[in-house]
Symmetry: C2
Subunit: 361 residues, 2 copies
């Protein structure tokens, strides 16, 4: 049987408990699809700091290097919030992982399931029937990683400096990801920039427009980032794939995710060239409810599904996971975060969602 | 009688027709408060391009220089959208005006009037009773204006570069504006940054924290920009004053404005050191409804009110304008953009709103 190596990085807060359910779902997939997932657990985030002295220990990097994909839980919590920013669990783990593994393409679906529209802050008139937006964010360039970056001078003469740089190949490759994704969905790409102010955006817009010519079946539009922040609120259904540079993608993907009202439902993928990728829930480590067994494991389970789809090419198994989750929602199973006290809903815990997904598989 | 000089820049689209109502309101203020407003009209935006060859003609700059404040309408439209970005009406007029006149502090209230909550995309549970957020955006620094900026190299070797720089004095002066504003309202400042990634944000957070010590009566919190984009959607009432650098302020102030659902109601002020300022509606030039006399002039009227308050120190007259607008809304007068077909609402045109505000004064 085919075997894949997975680096399992549960992290902090609810990370370990939702990860446990995703791993049980992978057990079920192993049986059903005659495949083996060799899993190696490693510390990351606060767990890395507490056990090995840093948010991304060397052993964790080695384990990831020896794997076909990384399944990531979530990191962070009050315990580590007083550390210097670049040693903190989130920043200290995620940024180096992205850079070391060249995870340049971040895919963040913002989906409202029709049965969960009530969880959104948006009115029923705005989101009736749900919406389905895929934010594709460039993840290894721009103002996150470009030089010079730092604080120059001393005292009141100090100047904080960051640099936003994009090269043509960096823009080209993320544009291809967006157009290819759009082809498999609504066939529309809205590219976000601030070309009326930023030179990097002028280049971005030009290159995205050029790449679009290779995808005549996909419709390309451009939107300024400030307008996009408004349009997401006004009428999210106008979007299919939203393509962003790193910083704009950070902001807009979070805005879009919150508009769904169900952060606990949203997976994400961060892809390298080739088949390697890292998969993680879009929500945080939710330290306030950690250890109680009540967290929603669906985002983690769907992240495992994205791993099968993008890193292992197991499209059928990935579809099966997506469908099983949809079935479980239709059956009315709800963890506390998505429970709306409606007829037909059953309030369940983390493990019961796992059980239901496995049963639906 | 006291006399003030106003540079009146109506601009494009609905700009001239909403400006006409604001000027009629100023006529009424002149009579009531024994003051004279000497107005000089000048071209800006598309009107500048068409009549004098550029979005910000020299004559317009001279007229502004000779004035105590600028009352600005709105600029832009399809006619000029194919020009190079830095010659277009918005970019080509606003950025130079900000730089030439040192308009470093942009105040953008995002207010839902209780009678207009229905216009928001947000659910009644989220915004019941309205909300009132003031976004204060640094407007002459950061990635908008810092060097190096440009496209280096040629062909596929090109690199687009922008630089985000902040000095200590730049951060200090905008922080003072935020704390002083908070003192007159809810006494809370939430400072937005991305200090887990950006060096300019690390300095920003440090300096804002230092300045906060001079305002012990004001509560300071810090929030990452991606989280802020979420929190505005989730629970806008948690905010009082939001303090942002230039780019984050561009995005979040637009998001907050759209959350109110009534862009036609929102004024803005861009202040220099001293008393000079520029005042303009937050919404756009709405070319689709221009010339029909149906646009909502309230944002322009409230902008004139902000001018009285911040540039002329006419607090009583400014309050009178704000109260008159509130009265007009209570009386049920609605232009098309805020008309909800509810009992007691009267659908009126641009001029009728002007009449009603003047009557209420
Ligand atoms: C923790 C932080 C560095 C990170 C980012 O800004 O990319 C996070 O917000 C995210 O979106 O994954
Ligand atoms: C037109 C543009 C340059 C401007 C900006 O980005 O500042 C506009 O979006 C605004 O917010 O006033």
């Amino acid at each position: 049987a085919q075997a894949y190596k997975i680096a399992v990085l549960p992290g902090d807060g609810i990370g370990p408990e939702v990860m446990a359910e995703a791993l049980r779902v992978l057990d079920a997939i192993e049986k059903k699809y005659q495949v083996t997932f060799e899993r190696t657990h490693a510390n990351v985030g606060g767990a890395g700091i507490d056990n090995e002295g840093k948010a991304l220990p060397e052993t964790t990097v080695s384990i990831c290097r020896a794997s076909d994909a990384i399944l990531f839980g979530s990191v962070g919590g009050p315990k580590w919030e007083t550390l210097p920013p670049d040693e903190q669990p989130e920043r200290g783990a995620l940024l180096p992982l992205r850079k070391i593994f060249g995870l340049y393409a971040n895919l963040r679906p913002a989906i409202i399931f029709p049965s969960l529209t009530g969880a959104s802050s948006l009115k029923e008139e705005v989101i009736g029937g749900g919406f389905n937006v895929l934010v594709i964010r460039e993840l290894t360039g721009g103002i996150y990683f470009s030089q010079p970056k730092g604080i120059e001078g001393s005292g009141r003469d100090r100047i904080g400096v960051d640099t936003m740089r994009y090269s043509v190949p960096e823009i080209e490759r993320i544009a291809h990801v967006a157009f290819q994704a759009a082809r498999k969905r609504g066939k529309k790409v809205c590219s976000i920039d601030k070309a009326n102010v930023l030179s990097s955006s002028v280049l971005w817009r030009e290159i995205v427009t050029t790449i679009a010519k290779e995808y005549p079946d996909v419709e390309l539009s451009h939107m300024y980032v400030d307008n996009a922040a408004m349009q997401l609120v006004r009428w999210p259904k106008q979007f299919d794939v939203i393509l962003c540079e790193n910083m704009f993608g950070d902001i807009l993907s979070d805005e879009a995710a919150m508009l769904t009202g169900s952060l606990g439902m949203l997976p994400s993928a961060s892809l390298a060239e080739g088949s390697f990728g890292m998969y993680e829930p879009s929500g945080g480590s939710a330290p306030d409810i950690a250890g109680q067994g009540i967290a929603n494991p669906i985002a983690q389970i769907l992240s495992a599904g994205m791993m099968l789809r993008f890193s292992f090419g197991m499209v059928e198994a990935a579809d099966a996971i997506d469908n099983a989750v949809a079935t479980v929602l239709d059956q009315g199973f709800r963890t506390r975060d998505i429970y709306q006290k409606k007829a037909g809903e059953k309030l369940v815990n983390t493990k019961e969602i796992g059980d239901a997904v496995i049963a639906a598989l």
